[in-house]
């Protein structure tokens, strides 16, 4: 087995992993960094982010406002000290990215431009047309090339962590091109593998978004926190789930039902005005908009499409010129996939799974309870998104906490003595034997594509926009059954070179673990908060019993054990989460009561 000795190993080469790698390299150029990614870094799913990245910039905006929007948007399930740190660093990190070459869209005088986004009081979303994630990722990847201390392991698939003396000391990875194993010894490990949206059927996520890192940490005893909070993005393509960015609404798009009526005004988001007003109507938060779609469907006011009910995203009034300048990719997607020219016809859309708010439990410095193990980005739960993430906060999260994770992991790596190589290699060989066994064993009857589809379907049935105890219970049971059936899986491909059948099987095993944490956490949260909404007697938020983070703990060969942890409240006491005119009224009353 190949062995590489690194100081810091980073698993995941998307925005968070790359930012962390650069932070390690800049904090100490003598540290060796192993950046392990199952795809070439520029293929990572950060690439698909469209709308933009939040950071206070405009006159009249303040850190206070960004803090309040984020904490309120998260339905008060946020770590407020972490949010406070986060909002204070966003603009600086976005400026750093500008210095590294990110082609931010500009105002006429050459400054970086900002746009409106859902749930944000003031325009503070930095953007690069509607390809923000693409430009951020490529800028980070290309910048990372400057640092000779970053050794990339591209198309290396991480299959386990190795531990010794109670701390994480490295990772084991498969070189996909050869099917051979590599042990990367490291003083500290950062997991930055992104979300897990592919456990659902209809989702906006790339094929790589399979929760690998979450499952790795979870199996080694690190809790997955707040996993029941899964964001449905309200404007996605029916059938494929592809995303039409929130910027469509930020630029002034309307959501209308089959009668051409802007239905959001019926759900406490009005009044309906012809131009976008922040935190109202189409610029409300994603959970509310997705829920409104569900209600419209119940009322029979949606449009029947080829892939089920849809509503319309109407951009016609913006005009072809603005659409092609501000939303070029949206125009391309609509034309190619749906045959719709957004300047001439409304786009059929529906909600789809987009983002996992929860993840690997870490503190505000990205450190997990397992010494030496850090996590950052969508795979982590650092505590800024709470029960519902605001659009454009996650790209900023990658930058702000990517840097934190890099600096912290570098410091930790320097503080520890080198591990026992012989013992780590022994562990790695055991991992190799176990993982290779998956493709060499015979007599299995289950097909991975079948198991995967059943998992995705049951997650959609039980953990959708609205949830009921009995369907969630069914989903939990189904996932238990699928885990049992997985043991009897049969691979069609026993080869070594680029064996994707094998890699998909390993991914599926990760996904089943992560899906279980979502379903079991959801079942046990008997309240409605943010993206977790119930219709079976728990329609209200319950701060007495559930102003708490859920923590899913791994139980070998069993269902996860769910425990609860406190939420850090500093300056914003839980209040009424209101938008539109009601939101403005509530804010005025809040201010008055403070005077």
């Amino acid at each position: 087995m190949e062995v590489f000795k690194a100081d810091v190993a980073i698993v995941g080469g998307g925005g968070a992993g790359l930012r962390a790698a650069i932070a390690v390299a800049e904090s100490d150029p003598t540290l060796k960094i192993a950046l392990v990614s199952k795809v070439y870094p520029m293929r990572s799913h950060t690439v698909s982010a469209e709308g933009g990245s939040a950071g206070v910039k405009k006159e009249g905006d303040s850190l206070e406002y960004h803090f309040n929007d984020t904490v309120g948007g998260g339905d008060w399930l946020c770590e407020q000290d972490v949010v406070e740190f986060f909002v204070s660093k966003c603009a600086e990190e976005l400026t750093q990215l500008e210095h590294w070459g990110c082609p931010w869209s500009r105002t006429e005088d050459g400054h970086v431009n900002v746009r409106a986004f859902g749930g944000m009081k003031i325009e503070r979303t930095w953007f690069a047309a509607d390809k923000t994630g693409f430009h951020m990722l490529h800028t980070l990847f290309q910048t990372s090339i400057k640092y000779p201390s970053i050794k990339r392991f591209d198309e290396h698939f991480c299959v386990d962590l190795v531990k010794e003396d109670g701390r994480c000391q490295g990772v084991v990875a498969i070189e996909m091109a050869s099917g051979e194993f590599t042990l990367i010894e490291a003083g500290s490990v950062i997991i930055a593998t992104g979300g897990a949206g592919r456990v659902f059927r209809e989702n906006t996520n790339g094929g790589v978004v399979t929760g690998d890192g979450m499952a790795l940490a979870y199996r080694h005893g690190v809790p997955l926190r707040d996993m029941e909070f899964v964001q449905y993005h309200p404007t996605c393509m029916p059938g494929t789930g592809l995303l039409f960015t929130e910027a469509c609404r930020g630029e002034g798009g309307f959501l209308v039902n089959k009668d051409g009526y802007r239905y959001l005004q019926d759900y406490g988001l009005g009044p309906a005005e012809p131009t976008p007003r922040n935190k109202a109507m189409e610029l409300g938060p994603r959970d509310r908009l997705s829920q409104a779609f569900w209600h419209e469907q119940q009322k029979g006011r949606t449009i029947e499409g080829r892939y089920g009910p849809v509503v319309h995203l109407d951009l016609r009034h913006l005009g072809a010129t603005k659409l092609h300048e501000r939303l070029p990719q949206i125009c391309e997607l609509a034309e190619q996939f749906l045959g719709v020219d957004p300047a001439l016809a409304p786009i059929p859309i529906r909600p789809a799974v987009h983002y996992t708010m929860g993840g690997i439990m870490v503190n505000g410095l990205c450190a997990s309870p397992l010494p030496g193990l850090y996590a950052v980005g969508e795979c982590s739960s650092v505590g800024i998104h709470g029960a519902n993430r605001l659009g454009s906060n996650s790209l900023s999260e990658l930058l702000v906490f990517g840097k934190v994770a890099g600096v912290e992991a570098a410091g930790f790596a320097k503080s520890v003595a080198p591990g026992n190589s012989a013992s780590l290699l022994k562990q790695a060989k055991a991992v190799e034997q176990r993982v290779t066994g998956l493709k060499t064993k015979t007599g299995g009857t289950e097909k991975i594509s079948v198991l995967r589809k059943e998992m995705a379907q049951t997650m959609e049935d039980g953990c959708g926009i609205y949830r009921l105890a009995d369907t969630m219970q069914k989903t939990c049971n189904k996932l238990d059954e699928l885990k049992a059936r997985f043991k009897n899986v049969n691979l069609e491909d026993g080869s070594s070179v680029w064996n994707t059948d094998w890699l998909l099987a390993i991914e599926l095993e990760y996904q089943l673990d992560v899906a279980q944490t979502m379903a079991y956490s959801a079942l046990q949260r008997r309240e409605s908060r943010g993206a977790h909404q119930r219709l079976d007697g728990y329609e209200q938020r319950d701060d007495v019993n559930f102003l708490k983070h859920s923590e899913a703990n791994y139980v070998a060969d069993g269902a996860p054990r769910i425990s609860y942890g406190d939420v850090k409240i500093t300056k914003s006491q839980p209040g009424v989460r209101a938008y539109g005119a009601a939101g403005e009224k509530a804010e005025k009353e809040r201010k008055a009561s403070h005077v």
Binding site: A177, S178, G179, E180, S495, S496, V497
Partner: protein, 132 residues
């Protein structure tokens, strides 16, 4: 031991595999005709240097049907060269900004063809004057 064995596909006959490449080879092939014409002129120049008789012999040769056919083919081939030369030009020039907007490729190609037309007419006019 790695079991990787990347397979490199041969390039033989690549230009036959795509209409775009066929066209490319045809327009590259116009070079043969440009060369043939240049050699024809070179022969004429040498004959001119050898005196009046030699020159007149060359002129006579130009009047043969074979020469006519040859020049007709040259004309078509070099016309095609002109067309493709300006067709590819938008890809080879730095962006030309007029009134804040990038000049469209068709405009650049059209401009090139216009320039060729003007140059040809000027040339014809000059020869006309010399002939008088």
């Amino acid at each position: 031991m790695s079991k990787r064995r990347p397979y490199v596909r041969p390039m033989d006959g690549w230009w036959k595999k795509n209409p775009y490449f066929v066209e490319y080879m045809v327009h590259e092939g116009t070079a043969l005709f440009v060369a043939a014409y240049a050699f024809t002129l070179l022969v004429g120049l040498v004959r001119l240097g050898q005196g009046e008789a030699a020159w007149n012999g060359w002129l006579e040769a130009l009047k043969s049907p074979l020469s006519l056919a040859f020049h007709a083919v040259l004309l078509v081939a070099i016309l095609y060269h002109t067309y493709t030369w300006f067709k590819i030009m938008p890809r080879t020039l730095p962006p030309i900004i007029v009134g804040g907007k990038k000049l469209a490729p068709a405009t650049i190609t059209g401009g090139g063809l216009m320039a060729a037309l003007v140059a040809s007419l000027v040339l014809l006019g000059l020869v006309w004057r010399i002939a008088q």
